[in-house]
């Protein structure tokens, strides 16, 4: 069952050095408002670069420090490749759907 307190963020397009700071701030604000269980739905993301990965890792740390977590759902192939290459799939496992990611916080 989906936890009702889960917050889903849905960035779109390219998460690069231009867009990454906004995503980082969005996650920080979400956590600061008390919503610490975050699922980032990447279904509409076409590309992520190192700055984008930085934003996700930074968001993960922020959420965990607040006692929550950050999880990824609907991860596209390009993002999966980068996560596997950097071994970051160990800390940011990819879930198929938002519902899959929203279990067992």
């Amino acid at each position: 069952m989906t936890d009702t307190s889960t917050t889903v963020l849905r960035p779109t397009g390219r998460i690069n050095m231009v867009a990454a700071p906004a995503l980082k701030i969005l996650i920080e604000e979400t956590v600061a408002s008390g919503r610490t269980r975050i699922v980032v739905d990447l279904g509409e993301v076409s590309f992520i670069d190192s700055s984008g990965l930085g934003a996700l890792i930074s968001g993960l740390k922020t959420a965990r420090q607040a006692g929550g977590d950050l999880r990824l759902a609907a991860v596209p192939e390009q993002v999966l490749t980068v996560l596997r290459l950097t071994n970051l799939d160990r800390v940011l496992p990819a879930h198929d759907t938002v519902a899959d990611a929203s279990h067992d916080w």
């Binding site: 190192s50 890792i57 950097t86 071994n87 970051l88």
Partner: protein, 402 residues
């Protein structure tokens, strides 16, 4: 507060504002530097578009104007600030347009108007630095009177915006490039029986790539390639910290422990800047060809041996700064005579459809029997076919055949 007190306070605020402004101008690092094509091309274009005799980009120091770029006028000189049109633009922080200075009581006595050919038309658009302070002025001048239309003013704004972008690039990317350049070793280590080369090509928005090598003792060579995620000065500063921490730590610790201490020492920097770094670091005993490596999420090192399958030198360890309290593990490999180790950064991935293709390209490269220098050059040339979105680093360590 008395009237005089208010005025004094206002005067103090103006002074503080001006100090911050002058600091911003000097931080650009452009005063008294020669003309640069990136500014000159905007100036030339402005002169053609507006059909005026003179266009200049003036930087405004505390007591002088420095002409950074000019068309129809000599660049590289300074003028006293108080006699200049440009100063007015600075005071108002908006474009100043004087259609005919001879008809304008504020300007008719100015030496630039009264003397010589005389300036009659003048337009000055203030230029903001990366943090918003007015650092200079884009000036148009002509001996004939002129009225600027709304669309002319919009065009002037566009050209000024272009110049402001170039000014901002200077403040960050140029310095980042300089930091990166200083991090790189000047020449390959002198190791008997080995041919070693490294290259690092910065992208337009410089990332945090670097490579390093140094001899820990007469029989132990350490080679490191790292990529700090992110761009510009922030990434460059962390790369500098990484390099120092790895160099210092490696003198008295195992490779695994050096990486752990480096990550621990920089943890706050990684957290504050919201970044992390991938790193491949290896220790080589040249005589035996014995290789010990740590791969911190870098994933882009291969060992190519003629006649054997190519081996990726990878592990499942995390990048530095990704998670507090991480540990790293050492792995072993052997570099036989004729073998080559190639380590690149993720900038290279843009040039290939998948990692398999990149490995086949590496095998072909090694098979060509080229020197390490040639191989490193060819790796960079391969990636440079498309504009670099990220820095590109390549290190080649080739063991010769006796």
């Amino acid at each position: 507060m008395s009237q005089a007190g208010k005025q004094a306070r206002k005067g103090h605020e103006v002074e503080a504002h001006e100090r911050a402004r002058v600091e911003a101008v000097r931080e650009l690092g452009l005063l008294d530097t020669p003309p640069e094509e990136r500014f000159d091309r905007v100036v030339r274009l402005a002169r053609r578009l507006f059909e005026v005799s003179t266009v200049a980009v003036n930087l405004i120091d505390d007591d002088r104007l420095y002409v950074k770029s000019a068309a129809g006028f000599r660049a590289g000189q300074s003028y006293p600030r108080d006699s200049a049109f440009s100063t007015h633009s600075l005071d108002t922080r908006r474009a100043l347009v004087v259609p005919d200075a001879r008809q304008d009581p504020s300007w008719v006595d100015n030496p630039a108007v009264a003397e010589g050919a005389g300036v009659r038309f003048y337009a000055g658009r203030p230029l903001a630095g990366p943090h918003g302070e007015v650092v200079g002025v884009l000036c148009l001048a002509d001996p004939e009177p002129r009225v600027l239309s709304e669309s002319d003013l919009a065009l002037l704004d566009d050209l000024a915006g272009w110049l402001e972008t170039e000014l901002a690039v200077d403040a960050d990317a140029v310095q980042a490039r300089e930091i990166q350049r200083r991090l790189l070793p000047h020449k390959p280590p002198d190791v008997l029986g080995y041919d070693i080369a490294g290259r690092c090509q910065p992208a337009y928005h410089v990332g945090g790539d670097y490579y390093d090598w140094h001899l820990l003792d007469d029989t132990l060579l350490q080679v490191t390639v790292a990529d700090v995620m992110g761009k510009g000065l922030a990434a460059g500063v962390i790369a500098a910290g990484l390099r120092t921490a790895m160099r210092v730590g490696s003198r008295s610790h195992t490779l695994m422990e050096s990486v752990r201490r480096t990550a621990e020492g920089l943890q706050d920097d990684f957290t504050d800047s919201g970044t992390f770094a991938t790193m491949f670091s290896a220790r080589l005993r040249p005589q035996q060809g014995h290789l010990e490596y740590v791969d911190a999420g870098h994933g882009l090192a291969v060992l190519v041996s003629p006649g054997s399958p190519t081996r990726r030198l990878v592990s499942r360890d995390l990048p530095l700064g990704a998670q507090e309290g991480s540990l790293w593990t050492s792995h072993e490999a052997r570099l036989h005579p004729g073998d080559t180790m190639i380590v690149v950064s993720d900038g290279l991935l843009d040039a290939f459809d998948d990692p398999g293709e990149a490995i086949r390209a590496a095998e072909q490269l090694v098979g060509s029997g080229s020197s390490a220098d040639e191989m490193a050059d060819r790796i960079l040339a391969e990636a440079a076919r498309s504009p670099l979105a990220d820095d590109l680093t390549a290190v080649v360590v080739r063991r010769g055949t006796p």
